[in-house]
Amino acid sequence: MNGGRQRQFRPGPRDNISLAFVIVLLFSPLGWASQLNLQAPSGRPAQALTFTPHVTPLDLTVTPQPTVPVPVGPLASPIPIPGGPQPSNGTPEPTPKISGGDSTVGYEFIDTPESPRWRIWIEDQVYIVSPDDPATIALLDAFRNEADKRATAASAMDQAKLDSKNSDKASLWGAVGLVGGGIAALASCLATPLTLVAGIGCVGGIVAAIGGLGAIGTSQAERGQAVATLNQETTNYNSATAEAGRLFDALTRNQGP
C-alpha cells in the first residue's frame, strides 16, 4: 500500500485497438491467400502437374474401320523405335488422328492407302497391328480399352494428389484460425469493460475459431476422400498396365514376326 508499486492491468482503448489490429493481421492472409489463387501464365505449367497423358478424344464413328478385312501380308514384328511413337516415313498422317493412352502405353491409328493399321506401344516397344482377323481385332480393342483406362487412372491419381495437398494446407490454415481466433476471443471477451472494439474482437475471435475448426473438419474429410481415390486409382492404374502388357504380348504373338 505504501510505496509498493503494484501494477494492475486496466485495459484501455489502446489495448482494444491493438487487439483489433492483431485479429486483422492474423486472419486477413486467410482470406487473401484463397482469393489470390490466380492462374500462372499459360507458358509456365506447374512442375508437379506437367504430366498430362496425351489423350485425344476417340472418335467412335471411325472404330469400325479395323473390322474391314484387308488382305495384307505379314507385317514386321516389333519395330524398335526408341522413345515411343514416331511417324513412319512415307506414311501420311491420318486426319483426324485417333490415338489414346499416353507416351508409355498407348495406341494410334495409321491410315495407309493399303490398309488401316494401328501403332501400339509399351514403353520403348512399338508394334504395328493390322487387324485382319477377329482375334486380333478383339485383342486390339481390349488393348486400346486398357490403355485408355490407364491414362484415365493416371489423370485421376494426379487430381487426387492435388486434392490431398490442398486439403493438407486447408487443415493447417484452419488450425491457424482456430488457435488465433481462440486466443483473440479469450483476450477480448475478458476485457473489462467490454467495449465495442473488444466485443467485435470477441465475436470475431469466436467466429474465426469456429471457422478454423470447421475448415479442419472439412479438409480432413476431403483428404480422406482423396487418399481413398488415390488408392483406388493406383490399383486401377497398375491393373490396366499389367493387362495392357499382357495384351501387347498376345498381339505380338498373334500376328507373328
Binding site: F9, L25, P29, K169, S171, L172, V179, L186, R223
Partner: protein
C-alpha cells in the same frame, strides 16, 4: 499465475509463425501453379508478420500488452488450450509431412511440414513446462 499469460503468448506466437510458414511455403512452392503477383503478396505478408513477432516489434508488443487479460480466464481453459492446440497442429503438420514424403514426393513441402512440426513440438514443450510450473505453484 504468470504461467497462463505465458501459455497464451506462446499460442499467439505459434499462430503467427504458422501463418508465416504457410505463406512462405505458398509463396515459394515450385510445384504450385500460381501467378507471380500472388506469390509476391504472400511473401510480403509473411515478411510483415515475421517482422511483427521480433522482440519489441508491433505484434510482439501487442501480445505482451494483451496477455494480462488472460489471468482472469478460467485456468483450465487456458492450460487445456495451451496443450490441445499445439497437439492438434502437430498432428496436422505430421500428417502433411507424411503426405509430402509418401504420396506427393515433394521435397520443398516436406521441408516445410517438418519445420512446422518442429515449431509445434517446441510450443508444446514450452506450454507443458508452463503448465507444470503453474500446477506446481498451485499445489504449494
Amino acid at each position: 499465475m504468470r504461467g497462463m499469460s505465458t501459455v497464451w503468448r506462446n499460442l499467439g506466437l505459434d499462430a503467427i509463425l504458422m501463418a508465416v510458414l504457410l505463406l512462405l511455403y505458398e509463396g515459394l512452392d515450385p510445384f504450385t501453379d500460381r501467378s507471380p503477383v500472388a506469390r509476391v503478396v504472400r511473401l510480403v505478408l509473411a515478411t510483415a508478420l515475421l517482422i511483427g513477432v521480433l522482440p519489441g516489434s508491433y505484434l510482439h508488443s501487442v501480445l505482451r500488452r494483451l496477455s494480462p487479460r488472460v489471468e482472469a480466464a478460467p485456468k483450465w481453459v487456458v492450460l487445456a488450450a495451451g496443450i490441445a492446440f499445439p497437439l492438434l497442429a502437430l498432428f496436422l503438420s505430421a500428417q502433411m509431412a507424411y503426405d509430402f514424403a509418401v504420396i506427393l514426393e515433394e521435397t520443398p513441402g516436406l521441408v516445410f511440414s517438418i519445420a512446422l512440426s518442429a515449431l509445434q513440438a517446441v510450443v508444446l514443450a514450452l506450454n507443458l513446462l508452463a503448465v507444470k510450473d503453474t500446477l506446481a505453484k498451485e499445489m504449494k
